[in-house]
């Protein structure tokens, strides 16, 4: 890890912006990028892919933001770690697999979190449902609050979504 790297945050919001609520992740990332908070880099993309591993490995901490079709009422936080057994079997990677790749290739998997936003509609369209838009707003607030603190000692709070 390079000196000074621990205070940098990487926010990756991913999803398809033509599939209604699946675009929640990119919407959050774009909003975070617009805020221009110091020490916070945001990346919006349709899917996670292997070349993201270098960027991830260089970050102090990473927040993966994704829409979730699993239901639930509000945004969810979860701590992430590289799985013991990872594989790449499609054109896109899961966050844990990307962390495993970062560790394997670049020697480092930073502390990471998954922030999920409940998705209600996944048809064709560019608009978010009101529920998911509310989740996006909540996610932006949570990320800005979390990243405004000194990073390492606040990981517990981040995990709890406080």
């Amino acid at each position: 890890m390079k000196p000074g790297a621990t205070d940098s945050w990487l926010v990756i919001g991913y999803g398809n912006t033509l599939r209604e609520d699946d675009g929640a992740g990119p919407a959050v990332a774009e909003a975070i990028a617009e805020r221009g908070a110091p020490g916070v880099r945001a990346l919006a993309c349709p899917q996670l892919s292997p070349e993201h591993a270098e960027t991830v490995a260089a970050a102090g901490q990473v927040i993966f933001v994704d829409a979730s079709a699993a239901g639930g009422a509000g945004i969810g936080w979860e701590s992430l770690a590289p799985p013991a057994a990872a594989t790449i079997d499609g054109h896109t990677l899961a966050p844990g697999t990307l962390l495993a790749l970062a560790r394997q290739v670049y020697g480092r998997a930073p502390p990471s979190f998954a922030l999920t936003i409940p998705a209600r509609r996944l048809g064709f369209g560019e608009r978010l449902s009101p529920e998911t838009q509310a989740g996006v707003d909540a996610a932006i607030r949570a990320i800005l609050e979390a990243t405004s603190r000194a990073a390492p000692e606040n990981q517990k709070a981040i995990r709890l979504g406080q």
Binding site: N16, P46, S49, P50, Q104
Partner: protein
């Protein structure tokens, strides 16, 4: 007693894709069908919008080949305006497409296929993946990631963003290649050339041991289709359509992409909503054709660049006339990466790429526009119809995965015939069917980022619908 085996990849939102293997009364494989998603939803979604928006919308169809949709869409827009775009704009679009070919083929080869090819199909599943590959071929795996990064860098240097660059527009492109970006790419070239040369040498060394697989992984006669230059040279963005047969003979040549309906028809199967394109004059059976790297190398007379031409000669020795095994899509992909790098190197020396004359302007001069470009997986058509105001009244997208559908069915059936024994689903069968599909590198991730996961659910059913055997792979 007739039976059916179903292999059902799990997806989150849509992209319903499954494999059905049909057994006859004697338990022998009689047929197979690979069902993939099509983009009818996007086609409907776009109606009523200005055609000029399509270069911003259609790249978002797919996270893995957005540049392909971008360029085909821009070409369809050119046709609606009835303009010839400035030469520099054409060169810049070509450069971006070469970057797309490099990054997409690198992902397919190094991350998805190399573990099977270099570690073997019977290696433990826990090891037979890119992480296992890193343990045995660490530098190769790292170099593969860097190669893909280079392709992405070409796209980013031109478009400003790696994914979904709204850079190509009807009439041309928005920006030239800057000196800083040109120098960055030129400095990177020696490394990626070294990677692909070393990989080709390694891969060629594995071919003798893979003769068995090459005979059952989709080795059958078919037509091949793609774009070629007027003199038959390999094409990836311009040119016209050529069909050749399994003997390497030209069946049809120099067909304008806008006339694709004269030579391509679609048939429907009762088991699927997916239509299967075929060469119209020969009908669905004899007219089955393949697109993509294998097809492009079979139809062209030469690559047009020295190192790739030398490699093409080695490749051609694998067949008589045409190379007919789908297994050799992998080799073809590597050769196309090499060719793309040679063309990129050549392009970066061209001062035209810094030109300020990049865009033609015109109104609506044609109510229909067809754009065709070679996506990494094969020829991509965007066919738009507009009203007098330029609002879309019809959109038809013909993608490579759909065009390869009949050939993928045939490939799966051939593999299943070889490996399905005793009415049971075995690990070797799963591994090889999975890889048979992977030869074509079908794009299942075009609808959402979650689609494309190749988890398999295989069920063997008897004629009464009773489950005889099931196997899962997450």
């Amino acid at each position: 007693m007739a039976s059916r085996i179903v292999i059902d990849p799990v997806t989150r939102i849509e992209g319903h894709a499954k494999i059905s293997v049909f057994l006859d009364d004697h338990g022998n494989v009689s047929d197979a069908a690979f069902h993939v998603v099509e983009f009818r939803g996007f086609e409907k979604f776009c109606l009523g919008r200005p055609y000029t928006e399509m270069t911003g919308i259609t790249p978002r169809i797919c996270g893995i080949c957005p540049v392909s949709h971008l360029l085909a869409s821009a070409k369809a827009g050119d046709a609606i305006m009835a303009v010839s775009i400035p030469p520099a704009a054409d060169k810049l679009r070509r450069l971006m497409n070469l970057g797309q070919i490099v990054q997409s083929h690198a992902l397919s080869f190094f991350h998805l296929s190399a573990p099977d090819l270099l570690l073997g199909w019977d290696a433990p599943p826990a090891d037979r993946n890119v992480f296992g590959l890193m343990a045995s071929h660490r530098e190769l795996a790292r170099a593969g990631i860097r190669l893909r990064q280079f392709g992405q860098e070409v796209i980013e240097v031109l478009g400003g963003k790696r994914i979904h660059p709204a850079w190509a527009v009807p009439g041309g492109v928005r920006a030239p290649l800057g000196n800083e970006g040109r120098e960055r790419l030129q400095a990177w070239l020696p490394e990626v050339f070294a990677t692909v040369r070393a990989t080709l040498a390694l891969y060629r060394g594995t071919l003798p041991a893979r003769e068995g697989e090459s005979r059952v992984f989709g080795d059958f006669p078919s037509l091949f289709m793609g774009l070629v230059a007027p003199d038959g040279t390999w094409e990836h963005h311009g040119g016209r359509l050529r069909f050749t047969d399994a003997g390497g003979r030209i069946v049809a040549d120099q067909i304008e992409p806008r006339d694709y309906r004269d030579v391509i028809a679609e048939c429907a199967h009762p088991s699927s909503y997916l239509k299967s394109p075929y060469y119209r004059p020969l009908g669905p059976e004899a007219g089955m054709y393949r697109v993509g790297p294998l097809a492009r190398l079979n139809i062209c007379s030469r690559m047009g660049v020295p190192e790739a031409d030398e490699e093409l000669r080695r490749f051609r020795a694998l067949g008589r006339g045409a190379v007919t095994s789908s297994f050799h899509y992998h080799y073809a992909r590597l050769i196309e990466i090499l060719a793309a790098l040679e063309y990129i190197e050549r392009a970066l020396r061209d001062p035209d790429l810094g030109s300020a004359e990049l865009r033609a302007d015109a109104g609506i001069n044609s109510r229909r526009g067809v754009g065709a470009s070679e996506a990494p997986r094969g020829t991509l058509f965007h066919d738009y119809s507009v009203d007098a105001n330029g609002l879309l009244t019809g959109v038809n997208l013909i993608v490579a995965t759909g065009q390869n559908n009949l050939a993928m069915n045939r490939t799966v059936a051939q593999i299943a015939r070889h490996f399905v024994t005793g009415g049971r689903i075995t690990e070797p069968m799963l591994n090889r069917i999975e890889h048979g599909i992977r030869c074509f590198d079908p794009c299942l991730s075009c609808s959402t980022h979650a689609v494309g996961h190749m988890a398999l659910h295989v069920t063997l059913l008897d004629a009464d619908g009773k489950v005889r055997h099931e196997a899962w792979r997450d």
